[in-house]
Amino acid sequence: MSSLRDLYQELVLDHGQRPRNKRPIHDCSHEKGCTHREGYNPLCGDKLTLYVKSDGETLDDLCFEGDGCAIFTASSSMLTEVLKGKSVAEVKEILGEFLEMLTNGEAEPDPEGLGKLAVFGGVKDFPARVKCATLPWRALEAILASQSDDEGTTAGAVDSNDDQID
């Protein structure tokens, strides 16, 4: 077992305790270029709502609401911070790498591409906590998918049920 320090690195503790961009966007609607999506972790009952403002090219603003564990909070916070201002293409790449790092049992994480998000690499060794880290990313994935479908704001929630390392 990896040590708890690998799981709760300084950055995680910091963002877990003082999350950035933890606020709602009240008038989030398709017309205003805003999409939001709920995420739910059935293992613990924690919920989040992720808000993304985008012109279809760049993610101009990201923020979230919801209370959960330190890993969930840190992951949500760092997601919003790191991705703000990035292009949709860049975001998709980071998203893919992040999920790969946490859910592919074999893959060697490639911390270079992920920058400071690589602090979540240690979560893989704590299978019960993988969903905590992936939850906001699954919500983001759903938002991006709905935008390529050009559906705009979508109802429904995602759960990160699939994020299991066997």
Binding site: M1, S3, L4, L7, Y8, L13, Q17, L43, C44, G45, D46, D67, G68, C69, A70, I71, F72, F126, A128, R129, C132
Partner: protein, 416 residues
């Protein structure tokens, strides 16, 4: 030879006070492990494992229809286990005991075979806000199917049932009351005798979910006068895959079967089937024969310790733990009923229960974190989850001290 066989024979409260019954449990010979998750499932004593392997090694055969001795002996062992459960629960006849996979299957069986034929649209099924999902979801499903309405006895701030609300909730449309004997999430021991008396006055039959009670308290279904009592073997130091439902003989006799198959019939033609008598007609297919025998051995085991001794010992642990955990700053126990089992459900200010759980695991302390399959309780207390330490006969005050020390380190680690 085997260190486990050296256990003292004098099994009384003093015996438990020495070091719990830890020496009886092979898995707990790992001295580093502090196991505080018996509410989810208990560890197994060597005698239960022996019962399983002895049966498979020397007496195994399918039961009931065999004309050869091995099969007859297996049948006797299986029916003997039914008799043990009968005596354990104080039932009048062994045919009042039906084997099921566990409490969940038992409650589904009752929803289907006992309650479903009795409800009409608008009828009421009364449960409580303290139930495990297994005693909620079957009733929600039945309600959806039949139009019956699900009502809840509310909680109080200490995690007890608000019994003042009960008389009004027992209406002339109430067709059944299903209530847990002991809450898995809070430890609250409900005054089921009193509840049953109130229900009886209104002619409402009562199903008691005893999953969290039988490992900790002596139960007498005739004294309680409940209509049904369900429990799981795996929480009672028995194997997984087996549990039992007690029901009054008159109910079983009047109930339609649920699952169909072999061993539950008297005769089958292509046109029709004649069912066997209870309990056979509620046990379709090959049952978990070894599981039943293992559960019988688990019952022998707890009776060897003595239910009264177990209760007394665990109450001492509850008192000790309340003090020990009381010394941890920022810790709030959820569920502070006057009458409760040795369960500590708590939140630690500033640290999410799952972070607590992961950290405790790092210290080799096994607790459960989450909603404990009792989300309505969490909703009531306005929290998503708790950390729960639930105790069994093998625990000691030292386990609770280890827990408290680890919690203090957690506060440091997370800087709260």
């Amino acid at each position: 030879m085997d260190p486990l066989k050296d256990v003292a024979d004098c099994r009384d409260l003093e015996f438990l006070r020495q070091n719990g019954a830890r020496a009886d449990f092979p898995l707990l010979q790992n001295e580093d492990l502090v196991f505080l998750d018996s509410g989810a499932s208990a560890q197994k004593p060597q005698v239960v494992l022996d019962a399983l392997t002895d049966f498979y090694r020397t007496g195994y055969a399918n039961i009931h229809r065999g004309v050869y001795r091995l099969s007859q002996q297996a049948t006797e062992l299986y029916e003997g286990a039914r008799g043990k459960i009968q005596r354990f629960l104080g039932a009048a006849e062994s045919s009042e005991i039906v084997f099921v996979r566990g409490a969940t299957e038992g409650l589904n069986l009752l929803a289907h075979s006992f309650v479903r034929p009795r409800v009409q649209p608008g009828d009421e099924i009364l449960i409580t806000q303290m139930e495990h999902h297994s005693n909620i979801v079957p009733w929600q499903m039945l309600g959806q199917e039949t139009g019956a309405v699900l009502k809840y006895v509310p909680l109080t701030g200490t995690g007890e049932l608000d019994l003042a609300a009960l008389p009004e909730l027992l209406t002339d449309r109430t067709r059944v009351l299903a209530v847990t004997h002991v809450s898995n999430a809070l430890g609250t021991i409900n005054p089921v005798a009193e509840i049953i008396r109130l229900a009886r006055e209104k002619g409402v039959p009562v199903i008691v979910d005893g999953a969290q009670a039988v490992p900790h308290l002596a139960v007498d279904v005739q004294a309680l006068d409940c209509d049904f009592y369900v429990f799981s073997g795996h929480k009672l130091y028995g194997p997984t895959g087996i549990g039992a439902v007690y029901g009054k003989a008159e109910h079983w006799r009047a109930m339609p079967p649920w699952q169909g198959g072999g061993d539950m019939i008297l005769s089958v033609t292509m046109e029709q089937t004649t069912y066997a008598e209870p309990p056979a007609c509620f046990e379709a297919g090959t049952p978990d024969i070894a599981g039943a025998i293992g559960l019988g051995a688990a019952i022998d085991y707890v009776q060897g310790l003595g239910l009264a001794n177990i209760t007394a010992y665990e109450q001492e642990l509850l008192a000790a733990g309340t003090e020990i955990l009381g010394a941890v700053p920022g810790l709030r126990v959820i569920g502070t009923a006057a009458d409760k089992a040795a369960v500590f459900s708590f939140v630690l200010e500033g640290v999410h229960p799952h972070d607590v759980g992961t950290f405790l695991d790092g210290d080799n302390i096994a607790v459960r974190t989450g909603h404990h399959c009792a989300q309505p309780i969490m909703d009531y207390f306005g929290i998503p989850a708790t950390t729960r330490a639930s105790l069994g006969v093998y625990n000691t005050a030292a386990d609770l001290e280890a827990l408290a020390e680890s919690l203090l380190r957690i506060r440091k680690f997370f800087r709260v």
